[in-house]
Symmetry: C2
Subunit: 212 residues, 2 copies
């Protein structure tokens, strides 16, 4: 049976542990493909081109926009971030469930273009835990942390746009929640309604005596 994959958008508070979650999901199940974003921001230490992001210059990014090569893009803190179209659409047509880790602006654009996409928001259990995680990284200044907290508040304002909220209090439980959400999405009525119609037709033929 050649099913189309599910498109999953994962967003959430900075510091909610999205990266670790996605990594764990990819380790445990083989039906997922993780989309790699294109960005004009500079790589952070340890980030690799083609692994964490496709790092490109502004000119290349804008050329890709012009060629309709991105399914969504947004600018944030003076840099572009976008999702290359080809990889996502190829994986979906191969039946892979494709994960996009993007923020609220992008998530809303995805919903417009792909109404069947599933939008998941990841949150730590509470605000104190979130503050702790953001401060705990130890690599950011107080000002950056405050900017992130401000940004988190803004992110939360779009929460009604999401289909699901998963609480990342325990990594594997949270990962299994996401996996269940994707599995359920594959069972949505629209995915199989044609099967039911064809069973009905078959039964009708049988009742009319057209077949034994």
């Amino acid at each position: 049976m050649n099913r189309t994959g599910v498109l999953i958008v994962i967003s959430g508070f900075s510091g909610a542990g999205k990266g670790t979650l996605m990594k764990r999901l990819m380790e445990c199940y083989d039906n997922y493909a993780l989309s790699i974003s294109m960005t004009t921001r500079a790589p952070r230490p340890g980030e690799e081109n083609g692994v964490h992001y496709f790092f490109v210059d502004k000119e290349t990014f804008e050329k890709t926009i012009a060629e309709d090569g991105l399914i969504e893009y947004a600018s944030y803190c003076g840099n572009y971030y976008g999702t290359p179209r080809a990889y996502v659409e190829n994986c979906l047509s191969e039946g892979k469930d494709v994960i996009l880790e993007i923020e609220i602006q992008g998530a809303c654009k995805i919903r417009e273009k792909y109404p069947d996409a599933v939008l998941v928001f990841v949150t730590p259990p509470d605000g104190a835990e979130l503050e702790k995680r953001l401060s705990g990284r130890g690599t950011e200044t107080d000002e950056v942390i405050r900017t992130r907290l401000q940004r988190a508040i803004e992110e939360a304002e779009g929460i009604e746009n999401y289909d699901y909220i998963v609480v990342n209090d325990e990594l594997d439980r949270c990962m299994e929640d996401i996996h269940a959400i994707v599995r359920a999405a594959g069972c949505r009525m629209k995915e199989s309604v044609s099967r039911i119609e064809s069973i009905s037709d078959e039964l009708s033929s049988y009742l009319k005596g057209e077949k034994e």
Copy 2:
């Protein structure tokens, strides 16, 4: 965390194996409660009162209707079938996920009264398989089988009312689909939106310097 349970309606073609599925689900997971219907039809061989159904007379059934003691009821082939309210609502408030195995008429009534209920339709993989299963029971006359096939066609006409369709080609895979659907339902945005709002408030207080 005191979550309210999920109300799950399971319908599907006669012969789709719903009974076996429910039994397997109850064996494998302990978060479920299976609602027992009340009916005025006579018990079949092997059916026990309080296990398969609550078998009552017409007068008792109509008294229960008058007392608003059923969350839905319908009549089918000259008999009443209904879902007693108390058991369902007690289990839900205890956080149990409650399964109702009812047909399309009842499912639509549940959807009206419990908009958050999840409606799942179970189907065999194809019409030939369904005919085989219905005939294969060996306990029914040709006429009964034809009536069931006719009924199956009618059931399928309400398919757009369901949220999910699960294909019962392999028992455990299908059971895990249903379990994923219920798990996902517990993560729906509405279930946790208040958590996000309270995190936002906490972060705002922090930024305003009202707490450290």
